[in-house]
Assembly symmetry: C2
Amino acid sequence: MIDLSLYLVLDPILCAEKGMVQTAIDAVEGGATVVQLRAPDWKKRAFYDCAVELKKALKPYGVPLIINDHVDVAIAVDADGVHVGQKDLPAAVVRAMIGKDKILGLSVSNVQEAIDCDTSIVDYIGIGPIYTTSTKPDAAPPMGLGGFAAAAAHCSLPNVAIGSVKAKDIEPLAKAGCNGIAVVSAICGQADVKKAAFDLKTAWNHAIESKDR
Amino acid sequence: MIDLSLYLVLDPILCAEKGMVQTAIDAVEGGATVVQLRAPDWKKRAFYDCAVELKKALKPYGVPLIINDHVDVAIAVDADGVHVGQKDLPAAVVRAMIGKDKILGLSVSNVQEAIDCDTSIVDYIGIGPIYTTSTKPDAAPPMGLGGFAAAAAHCSLPNVAIGSVKAKDIEPLAKAGCNGIAVVSAICGQADVKKAAFDLKTAWNHAIESKDR
């Protein structure tokens, strides 16, 4: 299974100045372990062109590229996986298209969705939003740490916590059963992207060490 | 090759009252020869669910279902084809994904795009907008009849004319080398969808007869 510990979700608006690809590279050099391309407002050609560039840029680092929603683009660029939400294509339909070897992630925003997740089809779940998020206007209500723990407890798959997760939230999340943090604004658009990723990764490593102690 | 003579492009807003599937059925009973699902603002699940229903509804009529933009949905529901615009996935990429037996259409809005169209990959082109359209906010400038004729003359593929095409426009379009008309508002949202389709189809048949005479 992939290392979910620091999962970057790219945001076109926050990345406008530095660019999606450079943000991804800097974040990976700082410690990001997964990169997801998410750009729901982009036309498919721009999305595809960016996916092609990201795949090329990430290859030397061995960091997987996950495509949000657009399974066609994932297939076209031979991405490492797909991430879908509850309003995107059904997980079983996606799995049938991408084959058994690709990574498939599913967003879960409450306990029922965690229970309903088919663990024979999906590889990991994204649980959130933990806190109020500004980067996803149509997000479900924030779950908080308790909501996260409840959802995580109802699904045996590895998970990432998403939704305004900051360095200070990492230790309690790790204690609540979190396998990684998915971040948008904590990395995208930061003045020093590499340092932002490094600080989050360091906080994650400390949290895991202190949890295991 | 498919019969392009009356090509219906479904519009979610105009079809809101009657529904996409019922509009398609009524239009086909009136004479529509192709149905395209186009809903750029819909989430992928809603789009997929509608495509599944449309495929089932159109099957008894033998009328092809074409999916706009979302190749993943076209593959998932085994649709008859895909239609892409210049800002969607490249035609060659789509062809590689859907295989050689599916229909592939491409939108063309000027002579250069008609020239650039790879006739070994694409099956038909949609030329337009002919006139100012209200159903596609990001459409290119209207081409008029002269613009249509010029684009059609520069591409050997069958074509449909699109963009506020009404019954009165059919005869001059047919004379200018048109193989069919693609309509949105001339069918979607009309009080009597079946009659609207029938009247357009009748006008098309008359235009072809008068052209051949």
